[in-house]
Subunit: 334 residues, 2 copies
């Protein structure tokens, strides 16, 4: 391992001088020696020791990504949305000269460890963290960026999308295409999360247009019997013709169930998804969906992180990104 000291000896200077050069404080060092030292460092293959740096400067160029992991069996990164976002985030963070660690966290202890162990410069939270937010905020002075959080705690920095608007847009579009009998399929709408807001936007828009959706048309996507439910919904005397679902992944499950039930999309059943993951355009038929810009989201998160790291006094802010309808082939006009 090549250290500052090694280079210093080669160059006949003190290691402080080398340190200054390596940190780009070139105005404190003469041009000549700076050049010479750079060359020697290059030749010797010097790579700064980040641990030592972090220790001495009490600040690391490290960001932690925290994935909430309620359950051993869940696989957050198997979800196309999450993994795309994480991948983009990693790229952006790296571009800023920071390194990224990933932690699955279950409870406060895990979170605490993730934040303190490597004294990370900041953290990004993916998933639900409502219970712990208050305590986390209190215990830490580093920037914490939440994503898609609807915590009632004010003054947290969050980047999310307009889920409510997304629900509305979906409803509008289905109505515009003549659908009147609708259903909603998603994970059991937990408390105050994105799912609930999408559902609310959807329902409110329907109600404003004089349409109501009976509670039994709100279906838990976790059900084993999706096919059967679809049959019941679409075969009655007053058949459901349109479904709004909370993710494109979920939409693909609906496609499969509909297929098994002998229901054609969009002929017998129209479906509108959420997210616009890469695969959606390749479904048969291509999925009409509410698109969120994952790249943009990662970008905003990263910029916010950098801003807060550079200046501790930046106030908390809640960024809400827009969504847009991506019209493809899974909704028909009736």
């Amino acid at each position: 391992m090549v250290t500052l000291k090694d280079i210093a000896e080669q160059a006949g200077v003190s290691s402080m001088t080398v340190s200054r050069v390596m940190n780009g404080k070139t105005k404190d060092v003469s041009q000549k020696t700076a050049q010479r030292i750079k060359k020697i460092a290059e030749e010797m293959g010097y790579v700064p020791n980040s641990s030592a740096r972090a220790l001495a400067s009490r600040a690391s160029r490290l960001i932690a990504a925290l994935l909430s992991d309620y359950d051993e069996e869940s696989a957050p990164l198997e979800d196309s949305y999450n993994s795309s976002f994480f991948g983009e985030l990693a790229r952006q963070i790296q571009k800023e000269g920071y390194d990224l660690m990933i932690h699955y966290v279950k409870d406060y202890t895990d979170i605490n460890y993730s934040l303190k162990s490597w004294n990370v410069a900041g953290a990004v939270f993916l998933g639900m963290f409502d219970e712990n937010i208050k305590k986390i905020q209190k215990d830490n002075t580093i920037p914490l960026i939440f994503t898609d959080s609807y915590s009632s705690i004010r003054s947290i920095t969050n980047v999310g999308i307009d889920d409510y608007q997304g629900g509305e847009t979906a409803a509008e579009y289905l109505l515009k295409n003549g659908h009147r009998n609708l259903a909603f399929i998603g994970p059991a709408a937990v408390g105050n999360g994105v799912i609930m807001h999408r559902l609310q936007g959807f329902c409110t828009c329907l109600r404003d247009n004089g349409i109501s959706m009976p509670p039994e048309h709100i279906i838990d996507s976790g059900t084993e019997h999706l096919e059967q439910m679809l049959e019941e919904l679409c075969r009655g005397s007053d058949p459901v013709t349109g479904i709004f679902t909370t993710s494109d992944f979920c939409a693909s499950r609906i496609y499969a169930a509909a297929y098994q039930a002998g229901l054609g999309i969009p002929d017998d059943l129209s479906v509108i998804g959420f997210d616009d993951i890469r695969m959606s355009r390749y479904l048969t038929p291509p999925l009409t969906t509410i698109r969120q810009d994952i790249k943009k989201k990662a970008d905003v998160v990263c910029q916010l992180l950098m801003k807060h790291i550079k200046n501790q006094d930046v106030p908390a802010e809640n960024v809400v990104l827009g969504v847009e309808l991506k019209e493809r082939g899974s909704v028909r006009k009736i």
Copy 2:
């Protein structure tokens, strides 16, 4: 921040004693003091400083995952296969008490930095690294685990699957179902990688059965004109009836192109994929594919890593995991 020293002062012992307790070297410390110290540490919310540890012990509990990133526009983690594997790997590594960093790497400089900067205990390589392997190996003593590498360098530790066998299995299955005129769709078969081996297994099996596949039936999945190609292939006097493709994601693109071309799957065209990502069973029709066990792969990588970390003298080994045919609905009998 709570340090060993803080705890030591509270407990009226030296920080060495606390250090021993925190590292579970309880046989070197009296039961009584050990208990007392544990309690105090708990109360004070002690979290060990990993940077300091790494610095003092010249060894970190950190693993680096290196994603090869030839191109700004590519998004390795948008690929379902990669992201699932990465997610599983992260979980396994964490379970072993290690932390995981992610790095996109372009060239030798990047790799070098990733490995040295945090003196990681080991690294896992995802993607192609053929050019640099020799140099990387020479410069590092830490365990390096490659995945899906067909490097000609001997004595690297690699975890892969039996790609050749996968190709054979696909061919056998198509033949068994009466298909004689076949095509292959995948990324331009770069040098010596997984793609080439899958293709070779496929072709060899065909040849052994007296069937030949003309070169123009090997199609680059990167083409813009997939729909048109499919038309040409399947509408001629001697139409292609079966396609083997190198990933399930690619299969979904073929589904979409076939749909646009008015070709029904499996009625007009049978398709067999590779990977068995989560989405495959939800395609319409559900995709018949060559399955690889991603969880198992991550598990093997992690165990290998631990073994090599604990014992530097373990020889390099190349683990080849099996693949299996997952029969679903995209291949028809003719």
